[in-house]
Symmetry: none
Subunit: 412 residues, 2 copies
């Protein structure tokens, strides 16, 4: 049984007058560059992160299990202590919650990505990271022209090339396959029912998909985009009914606030009952938000997005610089004197790999109750030698709460 | 599945002509002192423990799971290979067995601690570590004056401020909350039923509790204690029916003997079918007992208590000296030539933390079949670099039995 399950099952969490800051640098783990044999973190100059590693305890964390590369949703749920097998959540539900929608349990949610096809195959799964304004305009155009029978729907931009659809109607099933080949060079697929009960839902989804793809190829849509082919199709992933998990308040007795610039992370945070703290687009905005709300919460989840995007884009040096930018903000974070400060990633996104990967992520935890180890730098290779060893992310919350003196003793 | 479950499920244990000595230094793990940055173990001069570490294999063990601070009962059961979720045991049952009572499976056992209250709140949960003589006298006084209807009861001193109550009657339920706030500054609570079936049991327990608390405030009780408020109330923890686990004899094919100076550890040992080997109060007494019984058993559990008490009292230097005292006895233990010698703790009790904590405990295992690692000293930081890595205590028994050539091969 993982340690967070002990907390849930035996009600070990208790209130205390301590503050916790969890800094998640998305996709922070990397792979060594062939020229230098150093990872992004090892190339970056991060004196402040190194000091945290030196004063704290370090280790390597598997987001889910060895070899498993996770999506952002399950990776964050694991960080928050929720086993993603026991508590399955869908991408669509995360996206809908993340932009402030409140889908009902019977609604069907799904994430929709604008993509570009040429000669019948996908050539860009992100439509050149479509900007928000174009996404908004395309969503509006689609909403106006789509005609569906038997269900109503909400279609809204999430961010960049991402949107979300919430279908409202009777007896909708989420037992549907993704309409997404997951890589370029393949045709945009349709949706299939995984069970006979889902066949009607599959028909509805395919009718929606069909109309959207046709509408995006019209001259009106081409005029909106200003390009003959960019964003001329969509992909759909993660059909799901929304789930609401045991909340941080109930399970951990924590008043928790989430600070993130990207809606999906806020969606996961809302799922576990965190409050969303209003912030801007930059790390500086996020830090300002943290300071503004510092007195009002016990636990802060502070999410840095751009490191992951740089990794996905294969931009090694940009990722290095973004890590250095985060490091420069650390003194401001630490000056708030959190009783427990944790820095880690939700998963690795090595610039060389250009995607989320399975490689474990470095973690450092600083608190007065740490039994310091010999690690003196925050990197994959140094943290591998830390006293925390290698462990699954679902163990993290128990470690955090223990160091925050927020766990009762277990058992006789 | 942890490795001890393989032994249980597939009957892997087999007899052999080998001897095993498990030395448990209670609460041995510590935290670095701010002045020296060294833990109790690192300050202590322990040449003999260091030699065991050098000749053996080392690691760090989590008593239950990362972040979870255990009670002594579950921590020892984990050392003995029993998963405390699958095999829950109550504090009351451990205490009753530990002082030689043999409660029937339907009896209701509970631990009772003498405590001190002032102005309606608990100010000392241990009544200044009440001495045995006063505890005996108070128990006798209470037994003489308590009047309960519908049940009979046994009330006996365990040790220091601790006593145990065994209720005998029809249909008693252990679904009762603790009457213990777990910390000072709160009023002594009453017992609550966790389910409707337990309501009668809750009334009986509360009637008992009420009478005890009133009796302890009488002038007669005050005269016994010789103090106007010390031990003027009680707390109750761990209502439980006794559980008897798969025994060492059945599960591991071991004739096992337990040597401990403190009743609770003997209670856990009896639960797993160890024989209790009569001994005195000192480590020297325990070592003499070990020698006396060496030929009669395959497995010895030798428990050192005082290190834990020093940790709970926050006495760093005392804990250091007690560890050194144990070290001085090691040559006598090793001269018995155990085929497998293990030294570890059941959990950490850092003097700085003054309580059981979640920090992992160092472990060293010496046997002719060890694949020696590079660790050459017995301490938290050195063992963190050992080849055993970091692992849960429930894996220990399989390691021990394997090195004692007492496990059959698993599987085809």
């Amino acid at each position: 049984m993982v340690s967070s399950e002990f907390i849930f099952k035996f009600g070990l969490a208790r209130e205390a007058d301590t503050k916790i800051l969890l800094l998640v640098i998305d996709g922070v783990g990397g792979l060594p560059h062939p020229d230098t044999r150093l990872t992004e973190l090892e190339v970056a100059s991060v004196p402040n992160l190194d000091e945290v590693a030196e004063e704290g305890i370090c280790g390597l964390m598997d987001p889910i299990a060895r070899g498993i590369a996770p999506g952002s949703g399950v990776a964050h749920l694991a960080l928050f202590g929720y086993d993603s097998v026991k508590h399955p959540v869908g991408r669509g539900a995360v996206a809908a919650l993340g932009i402030g929608l409140d889908p009902a349990p019977e609604d069907l949610t799904v994430r929709m990505n604008f993509a570009t096809e040429r000669d019948g195959v996908i050539v860009d799964r992100r439509a050149g990271r479509l900007p928000d304004e174009l996404n908004d305009k395309l969503c509006e155009f689609l909403r106006k022209n789509l005609r569906l029978e038997g269900v109503s729907f909400t279609l809204k931009r999430v961010k960049d090339y991402r949107a979300v659809v919430v279908f409202k109607g009777e007896g909708l099933s989420d037992q549907l396959t993704d309409a997404d080949p997951g890589r370029t060079g393949f045709p945009p697929p349709s949706v299939e029912a995984k069970s006979p009960e889902a066949e009607r839902s599959a028909r509805i989804a395919n009718e929606f998909l069909c109309q959207v793809r046709e509408l995006l190829k019209t001259s009106e849509a081409r005029k909106i985009v200003g390009d003959p082919e960019r964003a001329n199709t969509v992909l759909m992933r993660g059909f799901a009914h929304p789930s609401y998990l045991p909340s941080f308040r109930e399970a951990y007795k924590l008043r928790a606030g989430a600070i993130a610039t990207y809606p999906d992370y806020l969606g996961v945070a809302r799922m576990v009952g965190m409050d969303i703290l209003d912030t801007g687009d930059t790390v500086a905005d996020e830090v300002a938000t943290l300071k503004r709300f510092w007195d009002q919460y016990d636990f802060f989840f502070l999410h840095i997005k751009k490191t992951d995007s740089a990794g996905e884009d294969g931009d090694f040096l940009k990722k290095v610089h973004l890590i250095e930018e985060v490091d420069a903000f650390l003194p401001q974070l630490l000056s708030l004197n959190p009783d427990v400060f944790v820095v880690t990633g939700d998963h690795s996104t090595p610039a060389l790999f250009k995607a989320h990967s399975w490689h474990p992520v470095p973690i450092a935890l600083r608190s007065r109750w740490c039994r310091r180890d010999a690690v003196s730098a925050f990197s994959e290779s140094k943290c591998a030698k830390g006293s925390l060893g290698r462990f699954p992310a679902t163990e993290l919350m128990a470690l955090i709460l223990a160091h925050a003196e927020r766990l009762a003793r277990f058992g006789a």
